[in-house]
């Protein structure tokens, strides 16, 4: 395994892209940074700009406005950039599938590397998802 991927998995900087969520997933994501879970132990940090990001954390169902913004965000992120869909909405649109305001799912817009289901997912579930993502990235090469 080469150094680049190892360093990437040891320091994932996360950009939080909220595509019109109901905010429950966002609150649970912020729980990960609190003393109880503290993902900074593993080098995971929230960053403000998508140019610094390694992981795009998508929550919610994209609507007509956020669809374009999500595409732009992904094209602005420096490669290699992973995408994680958090919550049932981002994973499969759930009850908003037939909504007038829901043109497509997240994985039809950007290539998603990991899905973390739940409404909202527990912080433990998110940590498990991130662990699986890291194993996937390391196993690929």
């Amino acid at each position: 395994m080469d150094l680049k991927l190892k360093a990437l998995t040891k320091s994932l900087w996360v950009f939080h892209a909220a595509c019109s969520p109901c905010n429950n997933c966002d609150i649970e994501i912020l729980d990960l940074l609190t003393p109880r879970y503290d993902v900074e132990r593993f080098g995971i940090a929230l960053v403000g700009s998508v140019r610094h990001a390694d992981v795009l954390l998508v929550t919610g169902v994209p609507n007509y406005k956020t669809k374009e913004i999500l595409k732009t965000l992904y094209s602005q992120a420096p490669q290699p950039c992973l995408v994680v869909a958090v919550g049932n909405c981002a994973c499969g649109r759930m009850m908003f599938k037939d909504s007038y305001n829901s043109p497509c799912a997240v994985d039809e817009l950007v290539p998603v590397s990991a899905y973390i289901p739940g409404c909202p997912p527990k912080p433990e579930a998110m940590i498990a998802g991130v662990v699986k993502l890291i194993q996937k990235v390391r196993g690929k090469k």
């Binding site: 150094l3 503290d38 080098g43 700009s49 610094h52």
Partner: protein
Amino acid sequence: MRTLFNYLIFPGFLFSACVGLIACWIDRKVTARIQWRVGPPWYQNFVDIVKLLGKETIVPAGAKITFLLSPVLGLLSTILVATILGVTVRLPLESFIGDLIVVLYLLIIPAISIIIGAFSSRNPLASIGASREMKLVLGYELPFILAITVIIIKSAGSIQIGSILNHQINFGSNLASFSGMLAFLVAIICMQAKLGFAPFDMSESEQEIMGGVFIEYSGLPLAIFKLTKAILLYTMPLLLIILFWAKNLTILASIGKYIAILVIIILIKNTNPRLRIDQAIRFFWGPVTSLAIIAIALALFGL
């Protein structure tokens, strides 16, 4: 050959980068402990730098060549300061006349490089950050230079770091007098602003303007900026130790003093909210400059 070795390896780039990155780790760890968290492992900042080197570097459309040149400019001048200070600590007699002035000029260049880089990225938020940084530089430079004037007065008008060191070794630390103490207080507040830590981190406020001056940087240039900040975190406390607290500079004593100043910085950083830019300027040009002027007056009376 020896100059090159000094610049690249021992007191220069490699050494100061390692010390600076470990100091950044101490910063993150102490911050985490204050917030009742565990914090990252000691090699975290090294991993961050390696990771950033492996990422894609994006140059925004319409950016000038200065976008990529300015981080290098900042890093080179910071290493030069680290080298001058490191060589002076080891061999005080080898310093040249006027190196204090050179160091003061070189310490402004990282801020200028950040401003140039942010403006050339053509991002509106970066422009806001750069204009804040510019005002902040105008704010803190005046009291900082006044505080250093106190040192020059106290060491009989010498502008040579080596002779300031020798003066303190012969006549006791500058910190042990009233004027020295006031000037040290002023210098610590200015150092906080120079390092871009809270309460003076309005130029790169993450929550408000999303990284501000660094918003368009990715990959290698961002890594260089992180390294510059890390080396500054090593250089600035070292400069303060040399100027104010240099009675006893054995290796153990220097490390102890360095860590003491580092912990002061981190505690100030963690217990203060971010100021607005106008509040910061008013703070620097009002109370801090007054304190510095009082310190100069005391120094002129020989206190």
